[in-house]
């Protein structure tokens, strides 16, 4: 089903990770990605991976959900791994035509796949534990400096909130329309490409009609409540940094420092 997509999904919960300030979560996700990129040996990479697994454990979201989001980009990981596998430098252990396998290549491909895995896991954690509205709010805060360049940060954030809010709604609607047309014998399961493409029209038309209807209703509702942009607007939920957030920042910094130390002091393959 369409609604089975986990990448970018939010799982409500009460864990420590859920409770972190959304701005901190976004910033730390970037810091984690940075840390992953500066890792230069297995030892530092293992430290990073373990800390990510620890955060996953703290998030109290079944590991199955993370694996599901991994599944969607498994192909990309495999592809890069295979490319790296055959393109290492140095003495080949095995050679067949232009294909040669080197220790360097094997190391490279393991390293790259681990890196990609960690990056997917960290971004999954971010979206799994942050509600779309919190996310948009936090992005608005983080982009504040851009308003110096006459960019209307509030409008961008509002559009993002609306878009994120309507993704599940439209997915559900698409699912419903698909069921309804299948019930009338629409040939969605057909192997024939032209038949399949034709079967999409009865799904897309109602979907667009309903998206426009919703947009119109929402615009009316916003106007009825005198919405006129960000100026002078106060918030119901005010983002606030609490000791837990400080703790998370320090934890991440500690991991970063451990990674830098092990990068310089340990054996480099």
């Amino acid at each position: 089903m369409l609604t089975d997509i986990t990448l970018g999904q939010f799982f409500p919960g009460e864990s420590l990770i859920h409770k972190l300030d959304a701005r901190i979560k976004i910033l730390l996700t970037f810091v984690y990605m940075l840390i992953t990129f500066i890792c230069s040996n297995y030892f530092s990479l293992t430290i990073t991976l373990c800390s990510v697994l620890f955060v996953i454990f703290l998030s109290k979201i079944p590991i199955k959900m993370y694996l599901k989001s991994m599944k969607m980009i498994l192909f990309i990981i495999l592809f890069t791994a295979i490319i790296n596998f055959f393109s290492g430098n140095g003495e080949p252990i095995f050679q067949w035509g232009i294909f040669k396998i080197t220790v360097d290549g094997i190391n490279n491909s393991i390293f790259v796949s681990l890196r990609l895995t960690i990056i997917v896991l960290t971004s999954s954690i971010l979206t799994f534990v942050t509600s779309p509205t919190d996310m948009a709010d936090a992005i608005e805060h983080l982009m504040k400096p851009l308003s110096a360049f006459k960019i209307n940060v509030h409008d961008i954030a509002m559009m993002m909130t609306i878009a994120l809010r309507f993704v599940p709604t439209l997915l559900e609607e698409a699912d419903k329309t698909m069921s309804a047309q299948k019930a009338r014998g629409s040939d969605l399961e057909s192997k024939n490409i032209t038949k399949k493409a034709k079967a999409l029209i009865p799904i897309f038309v109602p979907l667009f009609v309903s998206a426009f209807r919703r947009a119109y209703d929402l615009a009316t509702a916003m106007e009825c409540r005198c919405y006129k942009g960000g100026e002078g607007r106060t918030r119901m939920k005010i983002l606030k940094i609490v000791p837990l957030d400080v703790f998370a920042v320090l934890f991440t910094l500690a991991i970063g420092i451990m990674v830098i130390i092990s990068n310089t002091f340990y054996w480099r393959w």
Binding site: F11, P62, M65, S179, A180, A183, R184, G185, I201
Partner: protein
Amino acid sequence: MPILEVKNLSFIYGVGTTFQKTAVDNINLSFEKGEFIGIIGHTGSGKSTFIKQLNGLLRPSSGEVLLNGENIWRNSKKIRDVRFKVGMVFQYPEYQLFADTVYKDIAFGPENMGLNSEEINKKVLAAVDFVGLSHEILEKSPFEISGGEKRRTAIAGVIAMDPEVLILDEPTAGLDPRGRELLLSQIKTYHSKRKNTVILVSHNMEDIAKTADKVVVLANGKAEMFDITREVFKNSESLERVGLKVPQITEIMEKLKNKGYDINPGILTVTEAENEILRILGEWGKC
């Protein structure tokens, strides 16, 4: 042989996730050809999930659905044929209209069945008559007709496939009282003329009392009761336990009976109530 039968039917949403939910829980039922079945249940009791398995839109987590004695999933390539035989009108079906004319929209189902244009024309016109749409509307766009007409168009789109079993999920939801009355009587007419099986899902007890021969009561994914309509509505206490009520007129007559009047239990419609009251008044007149 029953036309439609379900055995140990269960459906679980989101298996293995935090959202896991058993929406249909081990249901065993069988429906005979030509019966008018009502399905009632609280919102979230699993009505929609249950009926979506009857035409193969959802594949049961366990158990089976037998159409004319044959498991519909025995050959999953043939599932489209099952959907032509078991027609399904969804809740708020007007949102599935897509074609540029009402006629073409109603013809979508029969076209998918691979019929020739003459047969399609016959089926479309017959369906249009059943739902009481005027023929002038056929060349209009489905987006410029009224809400009630859209609903009728969508229902005609399913009737036009001439299914052996017609399932309607809350067809009267959101209609005004007159539109609701009219649509119900048209469904009733369709049922008595075509002699087909009709399954009507509703949480409006009055609608069910007026139309159905037999009633299934769903609660928490389980089939709590399955009996002829009058018997089901005699159990006002068990119905209330699962968050449902008997029709208002049934309730009034029951209260009169509890006050000591000699009233037959299981009155379903206002007409029946009227006759019953007249009968009692007549008996009083005699003495």
